[in-house]
Chain length 419, copies 2
Amino acid sequence: MVIKNAFYAQSGGVTAVINASACAVIETARAHPDRIGNVLAGRDGIIGALTEDLIDTSLESAADIARLRHTPGGAFGSCRYKLKSLEQSRREFERLIEVFRAHHIGYFFYNGGGDSADTCLKVSQLSAALGFPLQAIHIPKTVDNDLPLTDTCPGFGSVAKYVATSMREAGLDVASMARTSTKVFVFEVMGRHAGWITAACALAARNEGEAPHLLLLPEVLFDEARFLACVKECVDRYGYCAIAVSEGLRGPEGELMAGAGTTDAFGHAQLGGIGPQIAQLVKDRLGYKFHWAVADYLQRAARHIASKTDVEQAYAVGKAAVDMALAGKNAVMPAIRRLADYPYRWDIVEAPLDQVANVEHKMPAEFITADGFGITEAARRYLAPLIAGEDTPPFRDGLPDYVSLQNVSVARKLESFSI
Amino acid sequence: MVIKNAFYAQSGGVTAVINASACAVIETARAHPDRIGNVLAGRDGIIGALTEDLIDTSLESAADIARLRHTPGGAFGSCRYKLKSLEQSRREFERLIEVFRAHHIGYFFYNGGGDSADTCLKVSQLSAALGFPLQAIHIPKTVDNDLPLTDTCPGFGSVAKYVATSMREAGLDVASMARTSTKVFVFEVMGRHAGWITAACALAARNEGEAPHLLLLPEVLFDEARFLACVKECVDRYGYCAIAVSEGLRGPEGELMAGAGTTDAFGHAQLGGIGPQIAQLVKDRLGYKFHWAVADYLQRAARHIASKTDVEQAYAVGKAAVDMALAGKNAVMPAIRRLADYPYRWDIVEAPLDQVANVEHKMPAEFITADGFGITEAARRYLAPLIAGEDTPPFRDGLPDYVSLQNVSVARKLESFSI
C-alpha cells in the first residue's frame, strides 16, 4: 500500500472535547502505519497549512496523545479564518494543495463547524480538479449544535452539562437567600443564532418551581411587558426568579439586543452583554435586587464537567473520520445517528459534505413551549441523553491535569506565503 | 443528663459546603440523644428564630441529612439580617432568648462569617445577663476567607478550586484562538475587601506564560498606565493575556471601581461589573479583541468541583461545634489550625468569640508580588493545600443530585413578632 501523510486542523471556536477528536485521529492513524505515515497538524488551524507551519505529531508520546482526550481548548491552535468561494480564495486553496503535495499529504481532516465543512468540501473539489489525490473528511465540532444530518455536534453536550449544572447550583444559592437578598438571577450563555445552550439550562429543573424559571431564547423575539409580568409572577409564587438568556436574544424588530462593544446614542460605551442588560431592566421596572453571571469561555472550556456521552462521540467521529479515509471515502463527515432515546443508543454514519456545508440546523419550533419561555418534553427527550455520564479528567494538586504538547514544526519546503 | 434542643442557623452568603457543616451538626447531635433532643433550624437564618419559624430537622431521614454533605446553597435558607449592638437591637436579642426558652433550646449554633460571630457573642452575653443558660457556638463559614484565628474559612477552598480550574480551562481556550481572535480575557471573581479569591486564580498557572498573567487585587490600587503596559507586554510575549480581577478593585483614590447598579454622570445606567469595565478599557486603549466572564454565584455554589479538604473542614467545624457544646463550652468558635503545609495537616482548636468578632483577616502584604499583579511563593504555599482533593457529588441523569429537604416547621408557641 502507498503510505501518505495526514493533515489535521482545528477550526473556529474550540470546545471541551475537540482534542478528544484529535486524539482519536492520531491514535487511529498510528494504528495503521502501513497506510498513514505521519499526522501533521496545522498550527493555529488552517493558517498552519497556508503558512506551511505543520506540527509533527509523531514527536508526541502515546501517553501525551492519550491525554488529549481529557484536555480542553485546541491543542494545536485554532483560528477564525474563512476561506471564501473557490474563485475568491483561489490563491489560498491552491496554496493548500501545494503544501499538501510538498508534504505527501493524502488525507485532509478538518475539525470544525459549518464554515469548515464548506472549506473541506471545496478542498476536495479543487484537489480533484487539479488531479491531486486527496481525501477530505470533515469532523464535526461546534458548541452551537447547528450542523445538519447529525444527532448532535461534539462539544455541545459538555456545554449543556456545564450550563445545566451551573444553573442548578446557582439556583439553590439564590433560593437560599431570596427572602432578604437577590430575587432575580440572570445567567447569560452562548448561542448567537440558536437557543440550544439556553434550552439545556432547563435540564437543571426537575420539579415545579426549581431554577431556571424562564428562558430567553434567540428564537423568540423579546417582549418586555410579557417577560416582566412572568418575572413578577415567578417571584410572587416562588420567592425568586432564575433566568437563562442567550447572548443572541433579539428585540421586537429582530435586532440583536446585546450591546457589547458598541456605544449608545450618546456615545457612551455600553459595557456588558445581554445578561446584565436584562438584570438591570428587571431592577429598573420591578425593583428586585439582582445578580447576573456570564459564563463566556468558561462554558465551552469546562472539561472538568464534560459529558461522557459527548467525549465518546467526539472520539468516535475522530476515529470514524480516519476509518472512512482508509475506506477510500472523500467529501464526507462522520455523523451521529440516534437509534434510541432511553437508553440513548447511537452509531456513526456517513454524511455527504455537500449536504452539510452551509446548512444550519435550528431548534425545532416544537421544542419551545407556547409561551416562548421554556422547552417542551420533546426537547427534554432530545437533550437529556447528551449530558449523560461523567468523564472526569485526572487531577493533580487539586486541579485538572491537562496536557501541553511540544508542538514542534516540521521543516518548511516551500516559499513563504502571506495571509 | 438534662436533654435540651439545639438551634442551628445559616447566616449571610451561602457556600458550596455550608450544608456540610449543617450535616455535621445534625449527625453529631443525633449521636447524643441523651443530651440533645432535636435540632431546630432557623428558616432563612436568624429570621426564623425571630419569627419563631423553626424547622423540625427530626423529620428528615438520616439519608437526606447525609446528602446535605454534598449539596450547595443553604438548605434551611439564610439571610442578610444584621443585629446591631445589644442596646440598638435589644428587642431582637430578647426575642431570640424568648424563642429559645419557649422551645427548650440550650445550644445555639450560628454558621456564618464575621457579623454572625459578633451576633453569636452577644446572644451568649445576653443569655448570661438574663440568667438563661445557653451555649452559643459560632461555626465559621465564608468564601471571603477573612475570619481571624483560623487557617481558612470553610467555603473558601471550594471557590478557590473553582476559580483556578475555570481560569486554567478558559486560559487554554484563549491560548488556542489568540492568533486570530480574542487576545485579552478578563475573569471577574468575588472579594469585595480581600483578594483571596483573585489570588487563588493564580494556582491555575504551573509554568511561565500560562494563564492568569495578571491579577487585579483589591489590596492594590489600580494604576491604569502600569496595567496597560503589562497587558501589552504580555500579549507581545505570549500572544494573549488572561486577567483575574476582584469585584472589589479600587481606583487610585481608593474608590470602588465597579459600577454595577449605579449611573454615570449623564444618568445612564452602568451595566456590568469591573470585569467588563477592565476588558473595555483594554480594548479602547490597546485595541485587542476581548472576552470577559463573571462567575458571580456560580463560584460559591459550585459544589460539583468542591475541594475535598474544604468539605472535610466544613464537616469538622460542624462536628466540633457540637462536641464543644457538649463539653460545656460557650462563646467559642471551632477554628482550623495548620500543622504542616505539605502534606497539609490540620486540626480543630477553640477560638474565643471575643477575639473573632469584628476582626477582619486580610491577605498579608508578603503574599503579593512587588509589582502588585501576582502572588508570591508564600501565598502559593498557603493556598495550594486548600484546593486539594476532589469530593464529587453523586450524579443522576447527568447532573449533580442535590437534596431538597422537607423543611416542616414546628408549631409556634408565642405571639408573632415583626421584623
